[in-house]
Subunit: 296 residues, 2 copies
Protein backbone atom coordinates (compact mmCIF):
# COMPACT_ATOMS: atom_id res chain seq x y z
CA UNK A 1 0.00 0.00 0.00
CA UNK A 2 1.24 3.48 -0.87
CA UNK A 3 0.26 6.31 1.43
CA UNK A 4 -2.44 8.32 -0.32
CA UNK A 5 -1.49 11.88 0.51
CA UNK A 6 -4.49 13.33 -1.25
CA UNK A 7 -6.81 11.25 0.90
CA UNK A 8 -4.90 12.29 4.02
CA UNK A 9 -5.13 15.93 3.03
CA UNK A 10 -8.83 15.92 2.21
CA UNK A 11 -9.76 14.20 5.42
CA UNK A 12 -7.53 16.04 7.86
CA UNK A 13 -9.05 18.36 10.41
CA UNK A 14 -5.61 19.67 11.22
CA UNK A 15 -2.05 19.45 10.22
CA UNK A 16 0.16 18.55 13.15
CA UNK A 17 0.93 15.10 11.83
CA UNK A 18 0.70 16.26 8.25
CA UNK A 19 3.19 19.12 8.41
CA UNK A 20 6.17 16.80 8.36
CA UNK A 21 4.85 15.01 5.27
CA UNK A 22 4.54 18.28 3.45
CA UNK A 23 8.00 19.25 4.61
CA UNK A 24 9.41 16.08 3.08
CA UNK A 25 7.86 16.95 -0.24
CA UNK A 26 8.90 20.60 0.01
CA UNK A 27 12.48 19.63 0.78
CA UNK A 28 12.53 17.16 -2.09
CA UNK A 29 11.13 19.76 -4.48
CA UNK A 30 13.80 22.24 -3.39
CA UNK A 31 16.53 19.68 -3.87
CA UNK A 32 15.16 18.85 -7.30
CA UNK A 33 15.06 22.54 -8.20
CA UNK A 34 18.70 22.93 -7.20
CA UNK A 35 19.61 20.05 -9.42
CA UNK A 36 21.24 18.27 -6.51
CA UNK A 37 21.01 14.63 -7.49
CA UNK A 38 24.44 13.72 -6.28
CA UNK A 39 23.21 11.54 -3.45
CA UNK A 40 25.78 13.15 -1.18
CA UNK A 41 25.06 14.81 2.12
CA UNK A 42 25.03 18.57 1.66
CA UNK A 43 27.46 20.96 3.31
CA UNK A 44 25.03 21.78 6.12
CA UNK A 45 24.70 18.12 7.07
CA UNK A 46 21.19 17.85 5.66
CA UNK A 47 20.39 14.63 3.79
CA UNK A 48 20.77 14.49 0.03
CA UNK A 49 17.79 13.98 -2.22
CA UNK A 50 18.60 10.29 -2.51
CA UNK A 51 18.81 9.93 1.25
CA UNK A 52 15.52 11.78 1.63
CA UNK A 53 13.83 9.51 -0.88
CA UNK A 54 15.08 6.48 1.02
CA UNK A 55 13.85 7.97 4.32
CA UNK A 56 10.45 8.69 2.80
CA UNK A 57 10.16 5.15 1.44
CA UNK A 58 11.13 3.69 4.79
CA UNK A 59 8.67 6.01 6.55
CA UNK A 60 5.81 4.98 4.25
CA UNK A 61 6.64 1.29 4.68
CA UNK A 62 6.65 1.62 8.47
CA UNK A 63 3.33 3.48 8.43
CA UNK A 64 1.70 0.72 6.43
CA UNK A 65 3.15 -1.99 8.64
CA UNK A 66 2.31 -0.21 11.88
CA UNK A 67 -1.23 0.97 11.24
CA UNK A 68 -2.69 -0.85 8.25
CA UNK A 69 -6.36 0.03 7.89
CA UNK A 70 -6.21 2.11 11.08
CA UNK A 71 -4.08 4.79 9.41
CA UNK A 72 -7.01 6.54 7.81
CA UNK A 73 -10.60 6.33 9.01
CA UNK A 74 -13.50 8.75 9.16
CA UNK A 75 -14.85 9.01 12.70
CA UNK A 76 -17.33 11.80 13.47
CA UNK A 77 -16.40 13.30 16.84
CA UNK A 78 -18.52 15.97 18.56
CA UNK A 79 -17.08 17.92 21.51
CA UNK A 80 -19.44 20.28 23.35
CA UNK A 81 -18.47 23.91 23.97
CA UNK A 82 -20.66 25.79 26.46
CA UNK A 83 -20.08 29.06 28.33
CA UNK A 84 -18.03 28.25 31.42
CA UNK A 85 -16.60 24.91 30.23
CA UNK A 86 -13.10 24.06 31.42
CA UNK A 87 -10.84 24.46 28.38
CA UNK A 88 -8.21 21.93 29.42
CA UNK A 89 -10.92 19.25 29.86
CA UNK A 90 -11.54 19.59 26.13
CA UNK A 91 -8.20 20.59 24.60
CA UNK A 92 -6.37 17.58 26.08
CA UNK A 93 -8.65 15.07 24.34
CA UNK A 94 -8.93 17.28 21.22
CA UNK A 95 -5.20 16.91 20.61
CA UNK A 96 -5.46 13.14 20.44
CA UNK A 97 -8.76 12.98 18.53
CA UNK A 98 -7.69 15.54 15.91
CA UNK A 99 -4.44 13.66 15.31
CA UNK A 100 -6.42 10.67 14.02
CA UNK A 101 -6.00 10.89 10.21
CA UNK A 102 -9.41 11.34 8.59
CA UNK A 103 -11.39 11.90 11.79
CA UNK A 104 -13.70 14.92 11.74
CA UNK A 105 -13.69 16.70 15.07
CA UNK A 106 -16.65 19.06 15.49
CA UNK A 107 -16.57 21.75 18.17
CA UNK A 108 -20.26 22.14 18.94
CA UNK A 109 -21.50 25.34 20.49
CA UNK A 110 -24.61 25.48 22.67
CA UNK A 111 -25.05 29.10 21.54
CA UNK A 112 -27.05 30.23 18.49
CA UNK A 113 -24.02 31.49 16.54
CA UNK A 114 -20.40 30.54 15.96
CA UNK A 115 -18.83 33.20 18.20
CA UNK A 116 -15.96 31.93 20.36
CA UNK A 117 -17.23 30.33 23.56
CA UNK A 118 -15.61 31.58 26.77
CA UNK A 119 -14.36 28.96 29.19
CA UNK A 120 -14.45 29.32 32.98
CA UNK A 121 -10.96 30.86 32.93
CA UNK A 122 -11.78 33.27 30.10
CA UNK A 123 -9.95 31.51 27.28
CA UNK A 124 -12.42 31.36 24.37
CA UNK A 125 -12.49 28.70 21.67
CA UNK A 126 -14.13 29.06 18.26
CA UNK A 127 -16.82 26.45 17.58
CA UNK A 128 -17.24 24.84 14.17
CA UNK A 129 -20.95 23.94 14.29
CA UNK A 130 -24.15 24.65 16.22
CA UNK A 131 -26.13 21.90 17.96
CA UNK A 132 -28.44 21.60 14.95
CA UNK A 133 -25.59 21.41 12.42
CA UNK A 134 -23.87 18.54 14.23
CA UNK A 135 -23.98 15.22 12.36
CA UNK A 136 -26.82 13.02 13.58
CA UNK A 137 -24.71 9.88 13.85
CA UNK A 138 -21.57 10.21 15.89
CA UNK A 139 -18.69 7.91 16.64
CA UNK A 140 -17.81 9.95 19.71
CA UNK A 141 -19.97 12.30 21.79
CA UNK A 142 -17.82 14.20 24.31
CA UNK A 143 -18.71 16.42 27.29
CA UNK A 144 -16.13 18.59 29.06
CA UNK A 145 -16.70 19.69 32.65
CA UNK A 146 -17.05 22.99 34.45
CA UNK A 147 -18.94 24.31 37.47
CA UNK A 148 -21.65 26.94 37.02
CA UNK A 149 -21.70 26.51 33.23
CA UNK A 150 -22.18 22.77 33.55
CA UNK A 151 -25.16 23.30 35.84
CA UNK A 152 -26.61 25.68 33.24
CA UNK A 153 -26.33 22.98 30.56
CA UNK A 154 -28.03 20.47 32.86
CA UNK A 155 -30.85 22.96 33.42
CA UNK A 156 -31.38 23.56 29.70
CA UNK A 157 -34.07 21.33 28.19
CA UNK A 158 -32.94 22.33 24.70
CA UNK A 159 -29.34 21.26 25.23
CA UNK A 160 -30.23 18.14 27.21
CA UNK A 161 -32.61 17.04 24.43
CA UNK A 162 -29.71 17.33 22.00
CA UNK A 163 -27.44 15.32 24.31
CA UNK A 164 -30.05 12.57 24.63
CA UNK A 165 -30.69 12.51 20.89
CA UNK A 166 -27.04 12.27 19.82
CA UNK A 167 -26.29 9.81 22.64
CA UNK A 168 -29.09 7.53 21.46
CA UNK A 169 -27.07 6.72 18.34
CA UNK A 170 -23.47 7.56 19.32
CA UNK A 171 -21.01 4.69 19.24
CA UNK A 172 -19.08 6.14 22.20
CA UNK A 173 -20.58 8.38 24.90
CA UNK A 174 -17.81 10.12 26.77
CA UNK A 175 -16.86 12.80 29.29
CA UNK A 176 -14.04 14.26 31.33
CA UNK A 177 -14.34 15.88 34.76
CA UNK A 178 -17.84 17.10 35.72
CA UNK A 179 -18.89 16.45 32.12
CA UNK A 180 -20.16 13.15 33.52
CA UNK A 181 -22.78 15.13 35.47
CA UNK A 182 -24.32 16.09 32.10
CA UNK A 183 -24.40 12.45 31.00
CA UNK A 184 -25.86 11.50 34.40
CA UNK A 185 -28.58 14.15 34.18
CA UNK A 186 -29.46 12.85 30.72
CA UNK A 187 -30.10 9.45 32.29
CA UNK A 188 -27.24 7.87 30.37
CA UNK A 189 -25.40 6.57 33.43
CA UNK A 190 -28.23 4.64 35.10
CA UNK A 191 -26.67 1.56 36.62
CA UNK A 192 -23.40 2.31 34.82
CA UNK A 193 -19.91 2.51 36.26
CA UNK A 194 -18.51 6.02 35.81
CA UNK A 195 -16.13 8.61 37.22
CA UNK A 196 -15.98 12.41 37.56
CA UNK A 197 -13.91 15.15 39.16
CA UNK A 198 -13.25 14.17 42.80
CA UNK A 199 -15.53 16.99 43.97
CA UNK A 200 -18.55 15.48 42.20
CA UNK A 201 -17.49 11.83 42.20
CA UNK A 202 -19.78 10.64 45.04
CA UNK A 203 -22.71 12.54 43.50
CA UNK A 204 -22.76 10.12 40.55
CA UNK A 205 -24.62 7.77 42.92
CA UNK A 206 -27.40 10.34 43.35
CA UNK A 207 -28.06 9.97 39.62
CA UNK A 208 -28.12 6.17 39.78
CA UNK A 209 -24.59 5.64 38.46
CA UNK A 210 -21.92 3.52 40.13
CA UNK A 211 -19.02 5.80 41.16
CA UNK A 212 -15.88 3.91 40.20
CA UNK A 213 -12.60 5.25 41.51
CA UNK A 214 -10.37 4.89 38.48
CA UNK A 215 -8.74 7.48 36.26
CA UNK A 216 -10.65 6.25 33.18
CA UNK A 217 -13.79 4.14 33.56
CA UNK A 218 -15.45 2.08 30.85
CA UNK A 219 -18.92 0.56 30.97
CA UNK A 220 -20.12 -0.66 27.60
CA UNK A 221 -19.96 2.28 25.20
CA UNK A 222 -19.58 4.82 27.99
CA UNK A 223 -16.09 6.10 28.75
CA UNK A 224 -15.62 8.68 31.51
CA UNK A 225 -12.44 10.35 32.74
CA UNK A 226 -11.68 11.88 36.14
CA UNK A 227 -10.91 15.60 36.69
CA UNK A 228 -9.39 18.00 34.13
CA UNK A 229 -5.95 16.52 33.41
CA UNK A 230 -7.42 12.99 33.23
CA UNK A 231 -8.57 13.98 29.75
CA UNK A 232 -5.17 12.95 28.41
CA UNK A 233 -5.33 9.43 29.86
CA UNK A 234 -8.98 9.18 28.76
CA UNK A 235 -8.25 10.21 25.17
CA UNK A 236 -5.35 7.81 24.76
CA UNK A 237 -7.59 4.96 25.93
CA UNK A 238 -10.24 5.95 23.40
CA UNK A 239 -7.79 6.36 20.51
CA UNK A 240 -6.50 2.87 21.28
CA UNK A 241 -10.04 1.54 20.94
CA UNK A 242 -10.70 3.44 17.71
CA UNK A 243 -7.32 3.02 16.00
CA UNK A 244 -5.42 0.29 17.80
CA UNK A 245 -2.45 0.13 20.12
CA UNK A 246 0.24 1.31 17.70
CA UNK A 247 -1.67 4.43 16.68
CA UNK A 248 -2.27 5.37 20.32
CA UNK A 249 1.36 4.69 21.14
CA UNK A 250 2.44 6.98 18.30
CA UNK A 251 0.36 9.84 19.66
CA UNK A 252 1.71 9.29 23.18
CA UNK A 253 5.21 9.69 21.75
CA UNK A 254 4.22 12.71 19.67
CA UNK A 255 2.69 14.37 22.77
CA UNK A 256 5.78 13.34 24.74
CA UNK A 257 3.37 12.11 27.41
CA UNK A 258 5.82 10.95 30.03
CA UNK A 259 4.44 12.95 32.97
CA UNK A 260 6.53 13.94 35.96
CA UNK A 261 4.28 15.99 38.27
CA UNK A 262 6.60 18.23 40.30
CA UNK A 263 4.17 17.86 43.23
CA UNK A 264 2.28 14.70 44.13
CA UNK A 265 -1.08 16.11 45.18
CA UNK A 266 -3.45 15.06 42.41
CA UNK A 267 -5.92 13.29 44.70
CA UNK A 268 -7.40 13.98 48.11
CA UNK A 269 -5.34 11.03 49.38
CA UNK A 270 -2.08 12.58 48.17
CA UNK A 271 -2.70 16.27 48.90
CA UNK A 272 -1.82 17.82 52.25
CA UNK A 273 -4.67 17.55 54.74
CA UNK A 274 -5.15 21.34 54.96
CA UNK A 275 -5.15 21.81 51.18
CA UNK A 276 -7.63 18.97 50.79
CA UNK A 277 -9.93 20.38 53.46
CA UNK A 278 -9.83 23.88 51.96
CA UNK A 279 -10.65 22.55 48.50
CA UNK A 280 -13.47 20.33 49.72
CA UNK A 281 -14.96 23.34 51.49
CA UNK A 282 -14.49 25.48 48.40
CA UNK A 283 -16.22 23.00 46.12
CA UNK A 284 -18.96 22.00 48.54
CA UNK A 285 -21.49 24.67 47.47
CA UNK A 286 -21.16 23.69 43.81
CA UNK A 287 -21.27 20.03 44.75
CA UNK A 288 -24.53 20.75 46.59
CA UNK A 289 -25.97 22.25 43.42
CA UNK A 290 -25.00 19.20 41.37
CA UNK A 291 -26.57 17.02 44.06
CA UNK A 292 -29.77 19.06 44.17
CA UNK A 293 -30.25 18.67 40.39
CA UNK A 294 -30.33 14.89 40.72
CA UNK A 295 -33.59 15.16 42.64
CA UNK A 296 -35.22 17.63 40.27
CA UNK B 1 -6.89 38.79 57.26
CA UNK B 2 -10.32 38.61 55.70
CA UNK B 3 -10.60 37.45 52.09
CA UNK B 4 -11.32 40.52 49.99
CA UNK B 5 -13.82 39.20 47.49
CA UNK B 6 -14.08 42.49 45.65
CA UNK B 7 -10.33 42.48 45.05
CA UNK B 8 -10.51 38.86 43.91
CA UNK B 9 -13.34 39.66 41.52
CA UNK B 10 -11.76 42.72 39.99
CA UNK B 11 -8.46 41.03 39.35
CA UNK B 12 -9.66 37.69 38.07
CA UNK B 13 -9.10 36.74 34.47
CA UNK B 14 -11.35 33.77 34.93
CA UNK B 15 -13.64 32.15 37.40
CA UNK B 16 -12.79 28.50 37.91
CA UNK B 17 -11.57 29.01 41.44
CA UNK B 18 -14.03 31.83 42.01
CA UNK B 19 -17.20 29.98 41.04
CA UNK B 20 -17.32 28.07 44.31
CA UNK B 21 -16.97 31.31 46.32
CA UNK B 22 -19.89 32.78 44.48
CA UNK B 23 -21.82 29.59 45.02
CA UNK B 24 -21.28 29.87 48.77
CA UNK B 25 -22.68 33.37 48.75
CA UNK B 26 -25.54 32.41 46.43
CA UNK B 27 -26.46 29.48 48.63
CA UNK B 28 -26.32 31.64 51.74
CA UNK B 29 -28.47 34.29 50.09
CA UNK B 30 -31.03 31.66 49.11
CA UNK B 31 -31.07 30.24 52.61
CA UNK B 32 -31.50 33.75 54.02
CA UNK B 33 -34.34 34.39 51.58
CA UNK B 34 -36.08 31.22 52.73
CA UNK B 35 -35.78 32.39 56.31
CA UNK B 36 -34.01 29.15 57.21
CA UNK B 37 -31.96 30.11 60.22
CA UNK B 38 -32.64 26.94 62.10
CA UNK B 39 -29.10 25.64 61.93
CA UNK B 40 -30.45 22.20 61.08
CA UNK B 41 -29.50 20.17 58.05
CA UNK B 42 -32.22 20.46 55.46
CA UNK B 43 -34.33 17.55 54.22
CA UNK B 44 -32.12 17.00 51.16
CA UNK B 45 -29.02 16.59 53.30
CA UNK B 46 -27.67 20.00 52.32
CA UNK B 47 -26.05 21.99 55.12
CA UNK B 48 -28.05 24.54 57.05
CA UNK B 49 -27.24 28.22 56.85
CA UNK B 50 -25.38 28.00 60.15
CA UNK B 51 -23.34 25.06 58.92
CA UNK B 52 -22.57 26.90 55.71
CA UNK B 53 -21.42 29.97 57.62
CA UNK B 54 -19.14 27.79 59.70
CA UNK B 55 -17.77 26.13 56.56
CA UNK B 56 -17.16 29.49 54.94
CA UNK B 57 -15.35 30.80 58.02
CA UNK B 58 -13.21 27.68 58.15
CA UNK B 59 -12.52 27.95 54.41
CA UNK B 60 -11.43 31.58 54.72
CA UNK B 61 -9.22 30.79 57.71
CA UNK B 62 -7.52 27.95 55.83
CA UNK B 63 -6.97 30.15 52.76
CA UNK B 64 -5.26 32.78 54.87
CA UNK B 65 -3.13 30.22 56.69
CA UNK B 66 -2.21 28.33 53.53
CA UNK B 67 -1.39 31.14 51.13
CA UNK B 68 -0.88 34.38 53.06
CA UNK B 69 0.36 37.07 50.68
CA UNK B 70 0.49 34.57 47.81
CA UNK B 71 -3.31 34.33 47.63
CA UNK B 72 -3.68 37.43 45.53
CA UNK B 73 -0.97 38.96 43.36
CA UNK B 74 -0.94 40.74 40.02
CA UNK B 75 1.41 39.00 37.61
CA UNK B 76 1.30 40.02 33.95
CA UNK B 77 1.49 36.86 31.84
CA UNK B 78 1.74 36.93 28.03
CA UNK B 79 1.16 33.74 26.03
CA UNK B 80 1.80 33.90 22.27
CA UNK B 81 -0.83 32.72 19.78
CA UNK B 82 0.37 32.29 16.20
CA UNK B 83 -1.18 30.44 13.23
CA UNK B 84 -0.19 26.79 13.55
CA UNK B 85 0.65 26.80 17.28
CA UNK B 86 -0.10 23.59 19.17
CA UNK B 87 -3.14 24.34 21.33
CA UNK B 88 -2.36 21.85 24.09
CA UNK B 89 1.12 23.38 24.53
CA UNK B 90 -0.65 26.57 25.57
CA UNK B 91 -3.91 25.47 27.20
CA UNK B 92 -2.19 23.21 29.74
CA UNK B 93 -0.13 26.07 31.19
CA UNK B 94 -3.02 28.53 30.75
CA UNK B 95 -5.13 26.50 33.18
CA UNK B 96 -2.55 26.88 35.94
CA UNK B 97 -1.61 30.50 35.21
CA UNK B 98 -5.22 31.70 34.98
CA UNK B 99 -6.05 30.02 38.29
CA UNK B 100 -3.64 32.36 40.08
CA UNK B 101 -5.92 34.91 41.76
CA UNK B 102 -5.16 38.38 40.41
CA UNK B 103 -2.86 37.31 37.60
CA UNK B 104 -3.64 38.83 34.22
CA UNK B 105 -3.15 36.31 31.44
CA UNK B 106 -2.89 37.91 28.01
CA UNK B 107 -3.38 35.82 24.89
CA UNK B 108 -1.22 37.69 22.40
CA UNK B 109 -1.90 37.31 18.69
CA UNK B 110 0.81 37.75 16.08
CA UNK B 111 -1.94 38.80 13.64
CA UNK B 112 -3.11 42.39 13.10
CA UNK B 113 -6.60 41.82 14.55
CA UNK B 114 -8.24 39.86 17.35
CA UNK B 115 -9.75 37.08 15.19
CA UNK B 116 -9.38 33.58 16.65
CA UNK B 117 -6.00 32.08 15.81
CA UNK B 118 -6.09 28.59 14.30
CA UNK B 119 -3.80 26.00 15.85
CA UNK B 120 -2.07 23.23 13.90
CA UNK B 121 -5.03 20.92 14.52
CA UNK B 122 -7.63 23.51 13.54
CA UNK B 123 -8.88 24.43 17.01
CA UNK B 124 -8.89 28.25 17.13
CA UNK B 125 -8.46 30.36 20.26
CA UNK B 126 -9.53 33.99 20.63
CA UNK B 127 -6.66 36.33 21.51
CA UNK B 128 -7.08 39.18 23.99
CA UNK B 129 -4.39 41.57 22.71
CA UNK B 130 -2.14 42.27 19.73
CA UNK B 131 1.65 42.34 20.01
CA UNK B 132 1.57 46.13 20.36
CA UNK B 133 -1.11 46.11 23.05
CA UNK B 134 0.78 43.67 25.28
CA UNK B 135 2.10 45.21 28.51
CA UNK B 136 5.73 46.25 28.17
CA UNK B 137 6.81 44.70 31.46
CA UNK B 138 5.91 41.07 31.93
CA UNK B 139 6.25 38.63 34.77
CA UNK B 140 5.95 35.72 32.36
CA UNK B 141 6.62 35.56 28.62
CA UNK B 142 5.45 32.22 27.21
CA UNK B 143 5.97 30.55 23.80
CA UNK B 144 4.01 27.47 22.73
CA UNK B 145 5.40 25.15 20.07
CA UNK B 146 4.29 23.97 16.65
CA UNK B 147 5.98 22.97 13.40
CA UNK B 148 5.49 25.06 10.24
CA UNK B 149 3.88 27.91 12.21
CA UNK B 150 6.79 28.07 14.61
CA UNK B 151 9.23 28.34 11.71
CA UNK B 152 7.13 31.20 10.31
CA UNK B 153 7.42 33.05 13.64
CA UNK B 154 11.18 32.54 13.65
CA UNK B 155 11.35 33.95 10.12
CA UNK B 156 9.36 37.07 11.00
CA UNK B 157 11.56 40.02 11.96
CA UNK B 158 8.51 41.86 13.30
CA UNK B 159 7.52 39.06 15.70
CA UNK B 160 11.09 38.25 16.73
CA UNK B 161 11.71 41.94 17.53
CA UNK B 162 8.70 41.79 19.84
CA UNK B 163 9.97 38.60 21.49
CA UNK B 164 13.39 40.17 22.08
CA UNK B 165 11.88 43.39 23.41
CA UNK B 166 9.52 41.75 25.91
CA UNK B 167 12.16 39.20 26.91
CA UNK B 168 14.63 41.99 27.69
CA UNK B 169 12.48 42.99 30.67
CA UNK B 170 10.44 39.83 31.44
CA UNK B 171 10.98 38.30 34.87
CA UNK B 172 10.45 34.79 33.48
CA UNK B 173 11.14 33.73 29.89
CA UNK B 174 9.40 30.45 29.18
CA UNK B 175 8.37 27.89 26.57
CA UNK B 176 6.90 24.46 26.02
CA UNK B 177 7.72 22.07 23.17
CA UNK B 178 9.30 23.67 20.08
CA UNK B 179 8.50 27.06 21.61
CA UNK B 180 12.10 26.94 22.81
CA UNK B 181 13.20 27.19 19.16
CA UNK B 182 11.69 30.71 19.12
CA UNK B 183 13.60 31.65 22.27
CA UNK B 184 16.75 30.11 20.76
CA UNK B 185 16.37 32.03 17.49
CA UNK B 186 15.96 35.24 19.52
CA UNK B 187 19.37 34.54 21.05
CA UNK B 188 17.90 34.11 24.52
CA UNK B 189 19.32 30.61 25.10
CA UNK B 190 22.98 31.31 24.36
CA UNK B 191 24.96 29.20 26.79
CA UNK B 192 21.76 28.34 28.68
CA UNK B 193 20.44 24.94 29.67
CA UNK B 194 17.10 24.27 27.97
CA UNK B 195 14.78 21.59 26.63
CA UNK B 196 12.35 21.16 23.72
CA UNK B 197 10.19 18.52 22.03
CA UNK B 198 12.35 15.40 21.51
CA UNK B 199 12.31 16.00 17.74
CA UNK B 200 14.06 19.36 18.10
CA UNK B 201 15.91 18.72 21.37
CA UNK B 202 19.40 18.17 19.86
CA UNK B 203 18.95 21.23 17.63
CA UNK B 204 19.10 23.49 20.70
CA UNK B 205 22.88 23.02 20.48
CA UNK B 206 22.92 24.50 16.96
CA UNK B 207 21.64 27.72 18.54
CA UNK B 208 24.27 27.73 21.27
CA UNK B 209 22.04 26.37 24.01
CA UNK B 210 22.83 23.37 26.22
CA UNK B 211 20.24 20.63 25.53
CA UNK B 212 19.30 19.29 28.95
CA UNK B 213 17.29 16.11 29.05
CA UNK B 214 14.76 16.87 31.77
CA UNK B 215 11.02 17.40 31.60
CA UNK B 216 11.33 20.98 32.90
CA UNK B 217 14.64 22.84 32.72
CA UNK B 218 15.55 26.00 34.59
CA UNK B 219 18.52 28.24 33.91
CA UNK B 220 18.28 31.58 35.67
CA UNK B 221 15.03 33.21 34.61
CA UNK B 222 14.53 30.83 31.71
CA UNK B 223 12.16 27.91 32.19
CA UNK B 224 11.58 25.49 29.31
CA UNK B 225 9.34 22.42 29.15
CA UNK B 226 9.62 19.36 26.90
CA UNK B 227 7.00 18.37 24.29
CA UNK B 228 3.27 19.21 24.37
CA UNK B 229 2.03 17.48 27.54
CA UNK B 230 5.09 18.66 29.51
CA UNK B 231 3.29 21.99 29.70
CA UNK B 232 1.44 20.74 32.78
CA UNK B 233 4.61 19.85 34.68
CA UNK B 234 6.21 23.09 33.49
CA UNK B 235 3.32 25.27 34.65
CA UNK B 236 3.13 23.69 38.09
CA UNK B 237 6.84 24.35 38.57
CA UNK B 238 6.35 27.99 37.59
CA UNK B 239 3.28 28.50 39.78
CA UNK B 240 5.28 27.14 42.69
CA UNK B 241 7.95 29.78 42.04
CA UNK B 242 5.40 32.58 41.69
CA UNK B 243 2.96 31.62 44.45
CA UNK B 244 4.65 29.06 46.67
CA UNK B 245 4.32 25.37 47.30
CA UNK B 246 0.84 25.34 48.82
CA UNK B 247 -0.70 27.32 45.97
CA UNK B 248 0.82 24.99 43.39
CA UNK B 249 -0.29 21.97 45.39
CA UNK B 250 -3.84 23.32 45.45
CA UNK B 251 -3.93 23.63 41.67
CA UNK B 252 -2.52 20.12 41.24
CA UNK B 253 -5.42 18.84 43.34
CA UNK B 254 -7.94 21.00 41.48
CA UNK B 255 -6.65 19.68 38.13
CA UNK B 256 -6.66 16.17 39.60
CA UNK B 257 -3.17 15.81 38.15
CA UNK B 258 -2.41 12.25 39.11
CA UNK B 259 -1.50 10.96 35.65
CA UNK B 260 -1.80 7.31 34.65
CA UNK B 261 -0.75 7.05 31.00
CA UNK B 262 -2.47 3.94 29.61
CA UNK B 263 0.57 3.40 27.40
CA UNK B 264 4.16 4.04 28.40
CA UNK B 265 5.61 5.48 25.19
CA UNK B 266 6.19 9.14 25.97
CA UNK B 267 9.86 9.12 25.05
CA UNK B 268 11.96 7.55 22.30
CA UNK B 269 13.43 5.29 24.99
CA UNK B 270 10.01 3.98 26.02
CA UNK B 271 8.25 3.78 22.64
CA UNK B 272 8.47 0.66 20.47
CA UNK B 273 11.45 0.73 18.15
CA UNK B 274 9.31 0.80 14.99
CA UNK B 275 7.08 3.60 16.27
CA UNK B 276 10.13 5.61 17.32
CA UNK B 277 11.81 5.12 13.94
CA UNK B 278 8.65 6.10 12.03
CA UNK B 279 8.23 9.25 14.10
CA UNK B 280 11.88 10.26 13.80
CA UNK B 281 11.59 9.90 10.03
CA UNK B 282 8.33 11.85 10.02
CA UNK B 283 9.78 14.76 11.99
CA UNK B 284 13.18 14.79 10.29
CA UNK B 285 12.27 17.23 7.49
CA UNK B 286 10.85 19.74 9.98
CA UNK B 287 13.83 19.19 12.24
CA UNK B 288 16.07 19.99 9.26
CA UNK B 289 14.24 23.28 8.78
CA UNK B 290 14.71 24.21 12.44
CA UNK B 291 18.38 23.31 12.10
CA UNK B 292 18.82 25.33 8.92
CA UNK B 293 17.43 28.45 10.60
CA UNK B 294 20.16 28.33 13.24
CA UNK B 295 22.74 29.08 10.57
CA UNK B 296 20.79 31.90 8.92
Amino acid sequence: MTINRRALLSGMTGAAMLAPFLAIERAMAQHAGHGDHSGHTSAKGSPSLEEQQAMKARHDKLMTELYGDNLFKNEEVAMLLYPGFTALDLVGPHYFFACMFGAKVHLVTTEPDLKPVASDLGLAIAPTVTLEETPADLDVLFMPGGTKGTLDVMNSERIMDWVKDRASRAKNITSVCTGSMILAKAGLLDGKKATSHWATFPILADYGAIPTDERVVQDGNILTGAGVSAGLDFAIALVEQLRGRKYAETLVLQAEYDPEPPIKAGSLADASEDVGEMMELMFSPVAQEFRALAAS
